[in-house]
């Protein structure tokens, strides 16, 4: 084994707290600067050019703010943003309602609730890409299990509808998989919220003869609300960046009905190779996420202070 020379060891060990603090934090900062910040500035630089990554030898022209101008006036981009917003809205709505409902029921503490909670949590730990890929099989019109079950309960012939191939159904196909996968996430945070409500508040309400209905609306829901908000914000950010599941389930199709922002970005950047243009779009998305992240961290701190 290698031994540190004694004098050096003494020097290192005797470091002041201030030096230790910087020594400990610097490597992380250096890594983030190299892998996150430096590329970010590179992207900002590229966003003012017409650079194409597949033609690295071509002359690069400075186009000023043209890329930004074109993105903000491009109807296709706005359609993609609209698609993303729809996706975010419906997944969050469903996941919050179902997730809170489940948490509320689990909080009844029936026998075996811990075991079943763990079972429910499984889908959210899995790889959205790998599991999303398998959902393509479940959604097969004739042979897929999903179509079979729907037809079993409704009598609609299983080959009469294509979840992934139809313009009306494809967005819902993705929303269903996302909801299946992430409802447990919302449920888990809501459960923490419900469990954070001290019993004495309910005792007081009981003494005041508040009805269970009243207790729900004036104690349970308001006190769990910061937690629900936390879950909503986090899911909002995650689904705003949604890429893997959509890429595998529909690839943005049919046509561009499920083309969320990340899919548009991938098509522009890595299929059409409009690097400058897509960098500008990436920066716009950064700014949007950064704004959301700001709100998110504030919400986190509020929850923490409780």
């Amino acid at each position: 084994m290698l031994k540190t020379p004694r004098r050096l060891a003494k020097k290192v060990e005797g470091l002041s707290d201030r030096a230790v603090a910087w020594l400990f934090i610097a490597p992380t900062m250096a890594l983030l600067l190299a892998i996150n910040i430096f590329p970010l500035f590179w992207a900002i630089g590229l966003s003012f050019t017409n650079y194409r990554a597949n033609r690295p030898n071509e002359a690069i022209a400075n186009v000023g703010l043209r890329n930004y101008e074109r993105i903000l006036t491009d109807p296709d981009i706005w359609i993609a943003m609209q698609t993303t917003a729809n996706f975010v809205f419906w997944t969050i709505a469903l996941q919050t309602v179902i997730g809170f409902g489940l948490a509320f029921l689990i909080d009844r503490k029936f026998r075996g609730h811990a075991f079943w909670t763990t079972i429910i949590l499984v889908p959210m730990m899995l790889s959205p890409a790998v599991v999303g890929n398998f959902w393509r099989f479940l959604y097969q019109p004739q042979i897929g299990l999903f179509n079979y079950i729907v037809s079993f309960f409704t009598g609609i012939p299983p080959s009469s509808f294509e979840m992934l191939g139809s313009v009306q159904l494809a967005p819902w196909a993705i929303i269903i998989v996302d909801t299946w996968m992430w409802t447990p996430y919302v449920m888990l945070i809501c459960l923490a919220g419900l469990r954070s409500i001290p019993d004495y508040i309910y005792e007081a309400a009981e003494v005041d003869r508040a009805s269970p209905w009243r207790q729900f609306w004036s104690i349970t829901l308001p006190m769990a609300l910061p937690f629900i908000m936390l879950a909503v914000l986090f899911r909002g950010i995650e689904n705003f960046k949604m890429f893997d599941m959509v890429n595998l389930l529909t690839g943005g199709g049919p046509g561009s009905t499920t083309e969320v922002a990340s899919i548009t970005l991938k098509r522009e950047a890595f299929e059409k190779w409009r690097t400058g243009y897509s960098s500008a779009f990436a920066i716009i998305l950064f700014v949007a996420v950064f704004g959301l992240a700001n709100i998110y961290v504030k919400a986190l701190n509020r929850v923490k202070q409780r």
Binding site: E13, I25, T28, L188, F243, A269, A293
Partner: protein, 316 residues
């Protein structure tokens, strides 16, 4: 939903518990159906996997697993019959379909890439994260809140947006499609989670422990090594598992930045294709093998899950 029996100190009534339990169990079972179906399909033959109505009871077969690990070529019946006796089970199964095994598939190399990249990046992220978390937890760092916010915000960036400059940078540095490049990238993404989670865990270790050690003549670094680290083992282990799961599951960066020698399993599994369309039992086998480690980790981690998914904000 039984809103009428809202939470109260008076124990929920027996009936309300039963109804709640029944709904939750029903949800849990329904949500397990897709996973059950992956597992079941992995043991079907290709014809069984696409039969209508879907088969719940079937003769189990290892054909999916054989197909997953091999590449095969179609031959004439005469050619197959003229071969010597089959040496392995997979040989036999393949020959029944008038095919012979041509060689191993790419599944294992991709799986091993996933292991190397996940463990490598986890090790780095947790090491860096532990140091930084200790720094933020114990010392007055100027602008600490801003730095912590900056660290967290790096994880919120849309991966495809980050991938554009990283793609160009790696091309210049010769890190395209390399395990090292992926390890560095995943380390950068995971270090933010590691710092936030570990800061929470280290905050919970009383300062008095180190202070007592330092009064006994330990230097700050020795106190960190001998007193704080042993106390933080559970937190470090939980953080490591979260980092591992992220790196294991990650798809967006992997699909853009790797194509061949450093490709991981998530972009590879969707490309498993058999003759005449997708070979679903092989896809299901690949998926099953890929998911099993995560299932084990989820069970190990169940007490820490909440903390992990909220970056340490919610502790209980």
């Amino acid at each position: 939903m039984s809103l009428t029996t809202a939470h109260s100190v008076i124990e929920p009534t027996r009936t309300s518990k039963r109804i709640a339990g029944a709904i939750v169990v029903a949800y849990a079972l329904i949500s397990m159906v897709p996973l059950f179906w992956i597992f079941a399909t992995s043991f079907k033959t290709p014809p069984d996997s696409i039969s209508y109505p879907p088969k719940v009871i079937f003769q189990p077969s290892l054909e999916g697993y054989c197909n997953l690990f091999t590449t095969r070529t179609r031959q004439t019946r005469e050619y197959v019959d003229a071969l010597g006796p089959a040496t392995t089970l997979c040989d036999e199964i393949t020959r029944r379909r008038n095919m012979v095994i041509a060689g191993p598939s790419n599944y294992w190399p991709r799986f091993i890439n996933s292991l190397v990249i996940a463990f490598g990046s986890t090790f780095l992220a947790v090491s860096l994260g532990t140091l930084a978390a200790y720094g933020f937890s114990r010392f007055k760092v100027p602008l600490a809140d801003d730095l912590l916010f900056f660290i967290l915000s790096t994880r919120m960036m849309p991966p495809i947006a980050v991938a554009i400059p990283i793609y160009l940078m790696y091309r210049e540095l010769g890190l395209s499609d390399s395990a090292l490049g992926m390890i560095l990238l995943y380390t950068a993404v995971n270090v933010s989670l590691a710092v936030w989670l570990l800061k929470g865990f280290i905050d919970e270790i009383p300062r008095e422990y180190e202070e007592a050690a330092m009064i006994d003549g330990y230097t700050r670094l020795r106190a960190f090594w001998k007193v704080v680290l042993p106390q933080a083992t559970t937190g470090i282990a939980a953080t490591a598992i979260f980092c591992l799961i992220f790196a294991w599951n990650e798809y967006a960066f992997a699909v853009i930045l790797t194509s061949g020698s450093a490709q991981t399993s998530p972009p590879f599994i969707p490309t498993i294709i058999g003759e005449g369309g997708l070979d679903w039992p092989a896809v299901a086998s690949g998926t099953t093998i890929f998911l099993v480690p995560i299932l084990v980790f989820t069970i190990l981690l169940r007490k820490q899950l909440l903390r992990g998914i909220t970056f340490g904000a919610v502790r209980k």
